[in-house]
Symmetry: C2
Subunit: 418 residues, 2 copies
């Protein structure tokens, strides 16, 4: 006789995206469809779970409309954390505590939606389950705008961020030239990505029959040399009234120094020591202003690029939903220590499906933009890059507008200090 | 016998918006419908006209689809300028030159789409027409995201910027709390507006059943006091994990010093002496970081807020089109030295129409947010403000998507150095 199904718990971890809640909706739907009783949502990931903070998702997703709102709600509905589990040797008590909570909640399946650090959590918890003889299954659901997870063709969240970046960069380019005729100006757009240039490369999507696209693109995969950059900017300024350059926040010199750290008055470390890689564009604008004497403007896409649900990619939101469902299905069917990946079957027409991979081969690895997808001189991405990213931004998800503004799914007490 | 209709010339001036091209489409359509032969577009406004730079718009708007694309194209299709005409006494030759060009082009009507400076141009040119006995009519079409023109209920361009600001601030708020539980952080969002707080006030649109909205809003209409601001921020941080504060780039102390000028390492003046009022949020984040010791992040909406056509308001785009048509109609029917204004007939249901006003009563005047629409303590806007702005962001204009990115109307050579 098959064992009676009990409960599921799902959490979100790491940086928010425009698609992470669509995966949450997918997990919830598949869990209910497969006969689980209660789907718990941990608040602020494992960190919140350790403090006994969780909700019953069925009290929040009460209708099909709620599910549609959730898919269109940016950031993490449950809240996330950046908590890194200690190793079992370092602190066994943490594991015992988590498993006690899960047992008390009669949980069979634990789904964690996140990036590299989150997959490390899945790896450690599934290892502990084996050691301790628990039959709880731990499955990861990929999520990160950075698109840097190993073994998956791409990660949910990346497509929507890429669509927002392409759209916004195109509008910034248009804005830039309208006031300029003679003097010339250089706009530098700073885009997220500490080590991987997937997001910055997506600025190329602004390019098309009606727009030149950015004039140069600098990814963090290659060392950044300021004199070469200044020379390139000078050259571009000879040809155009308004030059637009996209740079990754993570660009650094050959010896590993971040450009944003070069500003001696940099405020990138705050009182708590939180490092923000911001100020790269501003620093480079100051350099160009001094070296070339041209008008400059620094534009940071900031957190907008990861939370702009109003400009989400339909492919991305649908895939995020599917991947959530596939993670739940895998856990239900007995998989543990696994992550769902997206496998691309074809570029044109775009076709993709999901597979399940061993999380030990994924956690703490980082997938960068291949060198051959960056031009030899390191100032642009190639057509291969465009072929890769283009399918991921197709289609729109119309926001549900209420009084002129997109409606999100509300969660009471979301801002409470705890 | 009625005089045979000849040609029209239209220009765009000042800061770009998401709606200025819809007005251009309106002028073009009404001019053609009313039997004008050629509709010229001056490139980069009067400045370009003085250099003999103009195009025949019918070569660019060749179909209904082109007109729809133009309405969805942000920034200024023709390019703009910040050229201020000298007075007739200062430099009569400039006027003679302009009128010579207009006469050579057989122009009857001159439509200028712009803000305060542009209305000054209409005033001076229409005055010169009277003095010199020219029968060319000069009519202004309002445009500015700043919403600071006198005598009109609001200006085209404002509604779309307000919708973008409300939408983006809401997404930033969601993003902000997802990672925060205990320590607390303060996000400061910097919004355009040197003297008028209409745009910054629009951040209140993020507020609704599903979102608290910004926790404080500071407009440039009132003097800004840093110690009071720090105290307010401290108080907010006691209640919430993630505090979001919207500030205008133009906030300044009681003695008129801009906050962004206080940063001694400020880079807000570039090599050409172009002043950019940026760095306000960054400066205040540094202050809070030092005074409170909390995590902070500065977010500038930058030029995105004025050029985000992908998030345009339908009311705004339609009104911009109508106002363009009304300006052309007024000029055709003999008006000169006038500007079209929008007159609100009712808030709910929203109804508005156009009227024609004497440009002498508009130019160089500035309409600010009324004191009674700001709360007594100066840290928020009132319900009257919301009632005013809410109708202006209603409805969407679906971008025409090509390969996942909004398509704009292309103009060859737009970036040429001339």
């Amino acid at each position: 006789m098959e064992k009676k199904k009990r409960n599921v718990i799902v959490g979100q971890s790491g940086g928010p995206t425009a698609a992470i809640n669509s995966s949450l909706a997918g997990v919830f739907r598949t869990a209910i469809d497969r006969g689980y009783k209660t789907v718990y949502g941990m608040l602020h990931g494992v960190q919140g779970l350790l403090e006994g903070r969780y909700i019953d998702l069925s009290e929040h997703i009460q209708s099909g409309l709620d599910a549609e709102l959730l898919k269109r709600t940016p950031s993490a509905y449950l809240g996330t954390c950046r908590y890194k589990l200690p190793t079992i040797n370092e602190n066994k008590e943490v594991y015992e505590k988590i498993f006690k909570i899960l047992d008390d909640l009669q949980v069979d399946c634990f789904i964690y939606i996140g990036g590299n650090d989150s997959m490390d959590t899945i790896k450690k918890l599934s290892d502990y389950a084996i050691i301790s003889g628990s039959d709880i299954r731990f499955v990861g659901c990929p999520k990160t705008i950075d698109n840097d997870l190993a073994l998956t063709d791409h990660t949910p969240g990346y497509g929507s961020a890429a669509k927002y970046i392409g759209t916004s960069v195109k509008e910034i380019i248009r804005d830039g030239w309208s006031l300029e005729t003679k003097h010339g100006q250089i706009l530098i757009i700073e885009i997220m990505g500490r080590n991987a240039g997937w997001l910055t490369g997506a600025s190329v999507l602004a390019k098309g029959e009606d727009c030149d696209g950015p004039d140069a693109i600098y990814l963090p995969e290659l060392p950044f040399d300021i004199p070469t950059f200044v020379a390139k900017a000078k050259e571009l300024l000879k040809k155009k009234a308004s030059v637009v350059i996209a740079v990754s926040e993570g660009i650094h010199t050959a010896d590993g120094k971040y450009i944003c750290e070069m500003d001696e008055y940099s405020d990138y470390v705050d009182a708590f020591g939180h490092k923000q890689l911001t100020g790269t564009a501003r620093y480079l604008c100051n350099v160009l202003s001094k070296e070339i004497g041209c008008k400059t403007r620094a534009i940071e896409l900031s957190t907008l690029q990861r939370s702009a649900s109003h400009c989400a990619s339909r492919i991305d939101i649908l895939e995020a939903y599917e991947v959530g469902g596939a993670a739940m299905k895998a856990a239900d069917e007995g998989d543990s220590g696994k992550m769902v990946v997206i496998k691309r079957l074809s570029d044109d027409p775009y076709q993709a499906g999901t597979e399940v991979k061993d999380v030990h081969k994924i956690a703490n690895d980082e997938r960068l933009v291949p060198r051959e997808w960056i031009t030899p001189d390191g100032t642009y991405v190639t057509n291969e890059f465009i072929t890769y990213v283009r399918p991921l931004i197709q289609g729109d998800v119309a926001p549900i507008m209420v009084d002129g503004i997109p409606r999100h799914l509300y969660r009471k007490g979301y801002q409470d200090l705890l």
